[in-house]
Symmetry: C2
Subunit: 574 residues, 2 copies
Amino acid sequence: MKGSDSGQGGLFGNDAGAPAPKVKKVAKKPARRASAESMAKKQREISVSEFFTKNRHLLGFDNPRKALLTGVKEAVDNSLDACEEAGILPDLFVEIRAMKGHENRFTMIVEDNGPGIVGGQIPNIFGKLLYGSKFHRLRQSRGQQGIGISAAGMYGQLTTGNRVRVVSKTGKKAMAHAFQILMNTSKNKPEFHDKHVEWDKDHGTRVEIDMEAEYRRGVRSVDEYLKQTAVGNPHVQITYRDPQGNETIYERGTEEQPKETQEIKPHPHGIELGLFIKMLQDTAEGTITGFLQNEFSRVGPKVAQNIIKAAKLKPRSRPKSIARADAEMLHDSIQSARIMSPPTSCIAPIGEEVLLAGLRKEIKADFYIAATRPPAVYRGNPFQVEAALAFGREGDTMEVTEEGKILSRKKAKRDDTELLGNADETIKVVRFANRVPLQYQHGACAITKGIMAVNWRGYGMSQPRGSLPIGPMVLIVHIASVWVPFTSESKEAIASYPEILKEIKLAVQECGRKLGTHIRKGKRIAKEHQKRSYIEMYLPHIGIGLQEILGISDKVRDDDVEILTGILERSRKI
Amino acid sequence: MKGSDSGQGGLFGNDAGAPAPKVKKVAKKPARRASAESMAKKQREISVSEFFTKNRHLLGFDNPRKALLTGVKEAVDNSLDACEEAGILPDLFVEIRAMKGHENRFTMIVEDNGPGIVGGQIPNIFGKLLYGSKFHRLRQSRGQQGIGISAAGMYGQLTTGNRVRVVSKTGKKAMAHAFQILMNTSKNKPEFHDKHVEWDKDHGTRVEIDMEAEYRRGVRSVDEYLKQTAVGNPHVQITYRDPQGNETIYERGTEEQPKETQEIKPHPHGIELGLFIKMLQDTAEGTITGFLQNEFSRVGPKVAQNIIKAAKLKPRSRPKSIARADAEMLHDSIQSARIMSPPTSCIAPIGEEVLLAGLRKEIKADFYIAATRPPAVYRGNPFQVEAALAFGREGDTMEVTEEGKILSRKKAKRDDTELLGNADETIKVVRFANRVPLQYQHGACAITKGIMAVNWRGYGMSQPRGSLPIGPMVLIVHIASVWVPFTSESKEAIASYPEILKEIKLAVQECGRKLGTHIRKGKRIAKEHQKRSYIEMYLPHIGIGLQEILGISDKVRDDDVEILTGILERSRKI
């Protein structure tokens, strides 16, 4: 294969005629500090857990407050995934417990009624980074990286020296396993001891991690995260005990499980050439026809035939023996072929009704609307975006100018205004990725960027340049995908792939257009109302004027004013 | 060790009295979809290169334009590190070459005059993620993760199917090695072939990568990055050839090498307990006295003695046999001990003169200032922040209100205004980390956050809430550290550790205070100037008035006006 695929490299390529770079100026050479040989001796492999220990902020463990949330989130993600995969309505218990004698240490506990974990898998799942069942498949789930819960344990171990404690039971008749796990970070391998224990539960898993942490309520707290989780996952029951011992129960809102998602094959559009070549080499299929039909979704006999024909290949060629140039032809031919959109069975959106019900339950507003986009694809991965918003406070009054600027507003008395912003603040955005509410790094998230890219002035709201719109509004955006591209391992923000940005914009615009109609109506009414109140103010004066001019009695004057008011009233209704 | 370190876990801990969580409501169980057993079978280890192939946006390869910059940056980082480590003044050649027949494919070439790489190391360095010499040491360098250049090659392979091509020569008498390398992503291992070649160069390394890319000039381009690299690294000579064949040479500004940085031991403050326990277990030292003195920096016999005494341990105890509780005591005692700040020999700031020279060369402004903070520590890692700014355009005039709002300004004619922003735009921030200019994700960066957290109104500039200040200013901030905590593997933004944020704020404030004095002076002059121009306008009228009242001649009137003008002139100089 010498040089055949080497592109146009000067020293390697075929175009030897390309000018060789010339060194313009020979640098002075001081005494050498290190040589190629001495440097070679320092080269070493880096264990993935050493890497993430040093870079724990990449995993969401940069500060004690965030660490607590990240830990709980990773455990809850796993519990909900396991329950749903096993078809069990999730019943979760979450506790944050202060550790005695340490002001800044807490134990986080997450217990579920899921299918449990087979004993032999527990050490690796909780004590090894990059280990899991969800990475190698294309199917919507909360976890996907095989990093989360083991990273939480690693952080706990790093800051307290303590082991992760796991109990799991896989069925009524099985004994529960209890594990205590440490991670050997030099080797990225678990060290553990375990025993059988009694557990008065049919099945489920309980994980306890001690960590350096800080507990606070409010924005980006565990409390807030659990509340939003309940909104996006109404089939989940969560009992939450905070460090003061207060218990909050988020009741299950529906007995209906989310749609079961199917694992799918990759969609041929958006598969990179390098990955495609690797698939050709790794496949067990004997012919490229079989390869195309069985390794990808949405490729039937007809489509496969067209692709192979356009690439000028033989349908019965062996995938493994296809030359590099032919593979590229085949790849090109796939990209230009008409292929059905990917199946949506792999994606379970939250659904407009659930989103609206969640908004209605948490927020009193004047106007609610939701929109769901059809599924789309980025890099071969299907995804779907949905959005919902609540605008304006019920019972509130406000004066709005033509440009959407709010002149004055009176707030209705209410307690549950936490989520809905004030009229002079930017809107509140609630972000979900595969039903998980995202708390941090909103500025880096494609959802925020998509919302900012929409022209909200067109919908009657004010919007400073390069900012979120301003007004009393909560906007939920959910992206569901078989692989959500997060901007870091901590899964806090979604990367701005152009296809994803576009869909977010379209979903939000769909809601925005309807909101615009509502706001314009509101403005018309507000204007009318203002005019009318002026006239009403002057009507008695007009009455007095008439009385003076016509010399009518007080009674007739009052009657006339009443008649005029009536006319005004009727005209307003037209 | 059973349970001894298990904190307060309900099922494990000692406080058996803690209330056991109760399941409030037994969930209905539909037919199970998956069981613990079926799920266990899907558990697998994930190769780190599979992980990053799927998450290539984490490495800075989310889109073709950014990919090109990231690739060049990783190669240049390595070249500069190698040259400096070997004490060679770097002479770099960078080329972006369009690939024939592919509109969206380019070859990036980076060639240096560094010490070269020993043949046996080349495949791993370029074809394996998490491999390198810089991760396991504490010393300032551009690369640190062992991911960069192999990630660039992986991306090239993924998008074009082509191999990475490397030539390297370690000395005049040595033959050059030429490698062609592919990465086996399932195993994170290189596959390669190599040969000996002639190369008319004493020593150096040349890397060529074909990749799907987009070439554009302007903000965040390769061009911009190289320009900023030259500013922050005046000892570097760079020859750059763009896809149109235009050559730009960034001439070396100084023959002086940056200060050689020393590898240091970790500073004991900020070492997490878990890491500390691991160090106790891994050390070759026979006593805790030796352990403290030799595994950490700034711990002498006296300090070690005090620490051990405060922890109530024996100085000659063996580190490996120290009990868990004692280790924690020792760790606590270290954290409260007075220990000298870490040595600064591991850090090489750019230096105020170099920063100012760079600013003066690139930007014509009215006012320049720089500040350097003393070194500080986060998580045991020494770091140092320096800042420099250029404000206002030379020859420009402007009217400024008391609040720093600019009413009007006239621009002086000039070409080199690219870097200095307009008066009504937010300031331009140039970020450096270990001398590498950062191009992307400015919003997520501690530098941007630190600048926004400063009250710029106090220095006479306008600043919208939660925003950068507004005005004609370029602000450079450099953080140098033995380990820069980036927010992702792509090394685009610095994580907001509180200690780092604080130092950035302090450095910027130091510049800001001096800028404030300058701006206030400017405002005073502007005000005076305005007053004077009013008076000047009215002086002839006063002359006419005097003439009418006193009946003086035209000559005397004009003389009087001249005298009055003179008085005004003198008064202004006071």
